[in-house]
């Protein structure tokens, strides 16, 4: 037993091997990390390059101020606003559905639910996040749309409301799961402090836990917003393909993503102006999401309650 206390020669050699591994592993891991960064850089560069090509043929000012989007049919017109309005319409509807419901379920799970209930419900919610979006698309078209059309007689077969609601349903798990994580991370002692002053569960949830977890909740909402903006299949299937500058959710519209799908699948010749539009639209999408993320970080920092 005594010899164990003194390191022998052999054990020191073993240490050397671990040192070698310690030197190799960071390099391997670094390369893995670099790969994803390089991919991102590659995507951004392709996007920027192709977008520049496009704007050599179509004036940027027409693109950014135009209110008619008709790049495939004469007379051609390249105003981005109908696609932006379509996208925002879907996204706003989706967030109106997902943020209140997601937050409410998060409050339920973190403040009210028994441990056992949470252990069952949370994994189920996360499975919901793994359902392929095409399934949601047909869910919108075959289930939600008929209900909407029976309520509003002037609703189209393809309409923004149906797609927006279902996009919202799709992102509920995300809002819920991330908000719930943020709320569970609020220390027990803060809750105890409020309970000891005679606060009810609801008051503790609303006035202590939600404010303390606010930055996490904002982050979840923005992530959900970005996800809704980028959602493709549901809107392609259920929202239609009519670029239209409208705020009416009962009409058929087209989102930026759905337009990109339309052109990618069609027989638009490679390298043509029409083909270039998808990069310009993609770039617009990228910029919007990027700005949103910056805004989110600002908001989260501004309202952060340290604990």
């Amino acid at each position: 037993m005594r010899s164990d206390a003194v390191p022998t020669r052999e054990s020191m050699f073993k240490n050397r091997k671990t040192h070698l591994m310690d030197r190799i592993m960071p390099v391997v891991l670094f390369l893995c990390a670099t790969l994803s960064i390089l991919t991102t850089i590659g995507i951004v560069f392709t996007l920027i390059g192709e977008t520049f090509n496009f704007f050599r043929q179509i004036p940027f000012i027409d693109f950014i101020t135009g209110t008619k989007w008709s790049p495939l049919i004469e007379p051609k017109s390249f105003g981005i606003w109908p696609l932006i309005s379509g996208t925002l319409l879907i996204t706003v509807i989706a967030c109106l559905v997902a943020v209140p419901l997601g937050l409410a379920s998060a409050i339920y799970l973190s403040e009210y639910a028994h441990k056992r209930v949470r252990g069952i419900v949370k994994p189920i919610l996360e499975v919901l996040a793994g359902v392929p979006t095409i399934v949601y698309g047909y869910f919108a078209l075959s289930l939600v749309t008929p209900v909407i059309r029976s309520l509003f007689s002037d609703a189209g077969v393809f309409n923004a409301l149906s797609a927006g609601i279902v996009v919202g349903i799709m992102i509920i798990p995300m809002v819920c799961s991330l908000s719930e994580d943020a709320m569970t991370a609020v220390p027990r002692s803060l809750r105890d402090g409020a309970y000891a002053l005679g606060a009810t569960r609801f008051e503790v949830a609303l006035k202590i836990v939600v404010p303390a977890a606010f930055s996490g909740i904002v982050a979840s909402a923005v992530l959900a917003f970005s996800r809704a903006i980028g959602e493709t299949m549901i809107v392609t299937v259920a929202a239609g393909s009519t670029p239209k500058l409208t705020g009416n959710p009962l009409e058929s519209i087209q989102t930026m993503t759905a337009y990109i799908v339309q052109v990618s699948l069609g027989d638009t010749p490679h390298g043509s102006v029409e083909y270039g539009t998808i990069f310009a639209v993609g770039m617009t999408l990228f910029v919007i999401t990027f700005l949103l993320n910056i805004l989110a970080q600002y908001v989260a920092r501004r309202f952060r309650e340290e604990y």
Partner: protein, 255 residues
């Protein structure tokens, strides 16, 4: 045990179980009004558990079962008609770790009164000042009321938590090892403060520190394994304990 003081809290044959664990065994005592009662004993002896039954903070731990009776000013606090929120308003609590809310000093104090419906700005201002004065913190923070409570030192934070508890005008103040996370000087300040407060409030404190119990309290209760071993005037309990186990504990033979 003196009988001249009126007792505010009466505990009668209290048994408490966490699941199958018998945490408090047949506890009975009377806690006098406007005095300091200290609970001492080794870790896990049930002293904090008993403290938390007094404002029903144990309710939130699943699997807790209670038998027996606790009454405060003659009302059985575990009877069905008692409103837990009102009870907790009357029985304030200060915790082991200072736990100010991530809000300003002002909003920390005003949180309780706002919760109970006070909206008037002037009334709130007055409550904030009185509570901070009672906790001997006013002079130190009166110019920084809008600052985050986290800008305060640990000892100041704990006095802020005391002020926050006082702001809802309780009759009883429970202190759960309220100085164990603080340095000696902050501890001393809190002890002095507690001496002040006993003129207006009934104070029940749990402490790990026997010397603190001896310094501060009027009555001391010694717990062991969920049972009350001895309950007496502090002076008597420390100078002339009637139970051998109490003597062993206070003379440092275990615990």
């Amino acid at each position: 045990m003196q009988t001249t003081m009126t007792s505010l809290i009466e505990i009668n044959k209290l048994n408490l179980y966490y699941g199958s664990f018998h945490a408090l065994k047949n506890v009975s005592m009377r806690i006098p009004e406007k005095a300091i009662t200290a609970f001492i004993g080794p870790s896990g002896c049930g002293k904090s558990t008993l403290l938390r039954t007094l404002n029903r903070m144990n309710d939130m731990i699943p699997g807790t079962r209670i038998e027996g009776e606790i009454s405060i000013s003659g009302t059985d606090i575990y009877s069905g008609s008692v409103d837990v929120e009102t009870l907790r308003k009357k029985v304030g609590m200060v915790f082991q770790q200072p736990n100010p809310f991530p809000k300003s000093i002002y909003d920390n104090i005003a949180y309780g009164p706002r919760l109970h419906g006070i909206r008037d700005r002037k009334t709130l201002d007055e409550i904030v000042e009185t509570s901070l004065r009672s906790a001997v913190l006013w002079e130190e923070v009166k110019d920084y009321l809008k600052r985050s409570a986290f800008s305060l030192s640990g000892g100041q934070q704990q006095r802020l938590c005391i002020a926050r508890a006082l702001a809802v005008n309780p009759d009883i103040l429970l202190m759960d090892e309220a100085t164990s996370a603080l340095d000696p000087i902050s501890t001393l300040k809190i002890e002095e403060l507690v001496q002040e407060l006993k003129n207006r409030y009934t104070i029940v404190m749990v402490t790990h520190n026997m010397h603190q119990a001896a310094r501060v309290s009027n009555q001391t209760v010694f717990f062991l394994n969920g049972e009350v071993v001895e309950y007496d005037e502090t002076e008597k309990l420390f100078s002339n304990p009637s139970d051998q186990r109490t003597e062993d504990y206070i003379s440092g033979r275990f615990g």
